[in-house]
Amino acid sequence: MCVFDKGDTRMGIIRISARALLAITVISASVLAAGFENTGVGIQAQAMGGAFRGVANDWTATYYNPAGLAYMTDNQWGVESAFLHFRDELTPDYRYGGLDTVTGFYNGLAIYNQHAVLTNPTGGIVGKLPILGETVWGLSIYQPFDQNINWNLYQPPRAYNDSLSAPGQQYGVNLDVVAFQFTAAREIKPGKMSLGLGIQLLRADLVYRDLKFRSTPMTTSPYTDVPYSHIPEFLYSDGNGWGLGLRAGMMYKLNEKANLGVTAALPFNITVKGDARLDFLMPMIKSTRNKQTDPNSVEYLFASGRNVSLSRAFETKLKLPASFGVGLSYKVTEKFLVALDGEYTLWSTFDGFDFALASGDGLSGAAADPSVSSFFTSDVSTVVDWRNTIKAALGGRYNVSPALTVLAGLSVDQGVDPNKVGFTPQFVDTGTKLGFNGGLQLHLQTWDLGLGGTIISNPDLTVDRTYESDGSLLGFPGLYKATTFETILSIARRF
């Protein structure tokens, strides 16, 4: 027997939702870390903090819950563009040992990432075609994964090499994974349950910049001494690849007011192939160099201050994480809807990049000497130890009038790297993040115009120095701060 009236029911749902979000937040704060997943797709979904699996009522359902398409009464197309700004800060603490060292990094100085407002366009169309009866079909293009950040953090110390400069933006990544998704959805139990399945063709484009410090192959002083003991190797790689993925969902109408959505995303590994350039900035040890009588000797090369460049084809595996989500939506009134989402992403799948370099020529002079050639041609890897993450979102939608909808949301997203193993500036994920979202939708006849924004606040993170067996540093130690701003403009039309 029901003991609550309608008002009590609403308040009860709000209380339960708030407690659930609080519980997930507490769990999030105590567990693991998030990665390079896109912040979302669609003005409604993003403005509601991503709490959209139980709603999924527009063309962006292809991303959040394909099963939602089955309940769409109109055909629809839509496009949007998100403008993203990573506003990060890193105060390096890159030192060898406890001594006050000039390593070339801007230790103790707050450095900002390269300014860039990133554009992230998305589009899709859904409709009922005279194929397989009431099946709704959709075609969409969006980016499920996206990361773009660049840093300028290093110049060689004068004592290391006072004649050459490091290339700009030594640390950076521009990773775009675009999904071309073909989706089908239909009701299984009319008015009660629907299923949807999207088949994705994934295109990955990767530009990766990195700076590694390689232990010198030389065995005598001064080559083995600081600052010559570790030689900077600049990696620039540019490649792409294709892969497949699946995105499936189920929508279940609990009652007239409540929907339950369950989703799964299964992207498969993508092999990225392309070209890599390696630049080794050699030490300049002037007097040692001048003592060498043979300018083609290995000893001369490692004191010469030269730049040794090498171009190679490369191949690396992009291991994208699967994710599972569940969402609940509830119409509190005819005008007001609340939604709660949870997502579990298997970020432990991603273990960084291992750039396997093709064999071949390219070395000349002393660099080709068998005693050191492998130093210049070794594969380059960036190893991370990420954990699976939980994201929770709470969103609300209020129809102010037939022409105007107000949206708001809050999200909590764990960081992918709680152990901070191999933490690098390419993926500044400092821990449990809070997302604050809001937006407006203007409905003009068959047109929907949207404006939304997101601010994601990251906790400050100090990454301590961890040394590898050869004395080089694992990851990049320092103090990280990060805030992300995003603005979304969208337009859609029902037909």
Binding site: F83, H85, R87, Y96, G97, G98, L99, D100, T101, V102, Y106, L109, A110, I111, Y112, N113, Q114, H115, V117, N152, Q155, P157, R158, A159, Y160, D162, S163, S165, S215, S221, P222, T224, D225, V226, P227, S229, I285, K286, S287, T288, V400, A403, L404, V406, G438, L440, L451, G453, I455, Y467, E468, S469, D470, G471, S472, T483, F485, E486, T487
Partner: protein, 443 residues
Amino acid sequence: MRYSKYVIIAGAFLTLLSAGCSDRGTNVPTLSGRSSWTVWPDFNHVFVPAPVNATDTLNPSQLLMQIRNPACLLEMAAYIPHPDYVPIPEEYRNKPLPLLVLLAPQDADKWFYFDHGLAEIAYDLISKGTIRPMIIVTVGNEKVFGGTFYGNSDPAGHMDDIMGDLLVNKLVDSLRFVASWADVSSDPQEHGIGGVGMGAYGAYRAALKHPGIYKSISAADGPLDFDGSTSNGGLIQLIPQVFAEQGLRTDTTWDYVANHFDTMRTLRLSRMFVGGSLAFSPHDTQMTVSVTIAANQRRLYILSRQQWADSATLVSGLLMGQDIGGPIGSADVHWGFHMPFNADGSVNAATWSRWMSNNLDSLMVQAGPSALQGVSMWFATSPQAEYGYHDMTESWISTLRTAGHSPTVLEYSGTPGHPATGSAYTYNLIREMLVFHSSAFGN
């Protein structure tokens, strides 16, 4: 205007987001000029009295008889900040510059500190105002055997004669002739000395042999107490390693040991003992020579030589000196020396006592209690230092403290996989040394 408030909200929202997208720049410091035109690198000096006439006779003096050093050169390099290239603070412009002498460790030459970033570090610290502008003269170690402890003997060179006021006065007087802008301070308070490894020993030896010349000493792990903290450690505990390095057993005869001893460059411990033997226990204890100049060439003639009678630890015939020869029949240029151990690897008391008379604590007793009075002292030491130098350094620090001195001590370690052995972190230590000396020089 029913939507005006929403338009206002949207406008405020966009304004907030656009503010979050403003360009902050990167905060990366602007690169300054990367020229290192701040150094006068080569400043070798001849250290031997010139003969008065063709039949001049004198005892071997300074570097006259140093092995394989026919030019009698003390090889030096100098960092001299040029006011046009180094941003010297106004208060120090047109004023004499303090002098710091840095002694190279074993197997290192005058470029050792430059090879570890001295010029660039000095430029960096001076230009930032962290240290006073100063002249830094780097002295190379003996070249043939990788170093002779900056000791005092015919084959090692009479460094005790050089490393005091003779050197400082020569630098004060003559540096301006090689670098016109160089003006070395003659104030002893602004004279410092330092070194790494064997150079650290040399720095203290110079200060003890010449009290009052250097008012600040910096030293990083070296053979600062020959018998270590236990009186049975230090260099003594290295003797088995010397045998192992040479591939020698301890059940042979001394002749076998002497005839199979090698001084190749990779045998660093053995070279250290050979260098020490040439400095502290040479076979020739006193030599009289004559010097002539003929056809622009110096000719040396050995007139007489006194040699240590002991033969139990003598290594002879291994080392060839300079080609002196001559008609007097004393042309035996083979330098003999006595090792401080016996054929079975045990310490030879007689030779060891000659070494110990050169130990720093002995030199301090010889110099008297006031020798290091008013001298600022700085040490860097690491438990990872090679050859047990950490223990020897700690022992010497303890001796100094017992004598009432208060040296500053920096204890440090390397990183995993890159321990603080040899000169692995000299680059870092140079920075600390310069800061210390600058502070000791005062304003």
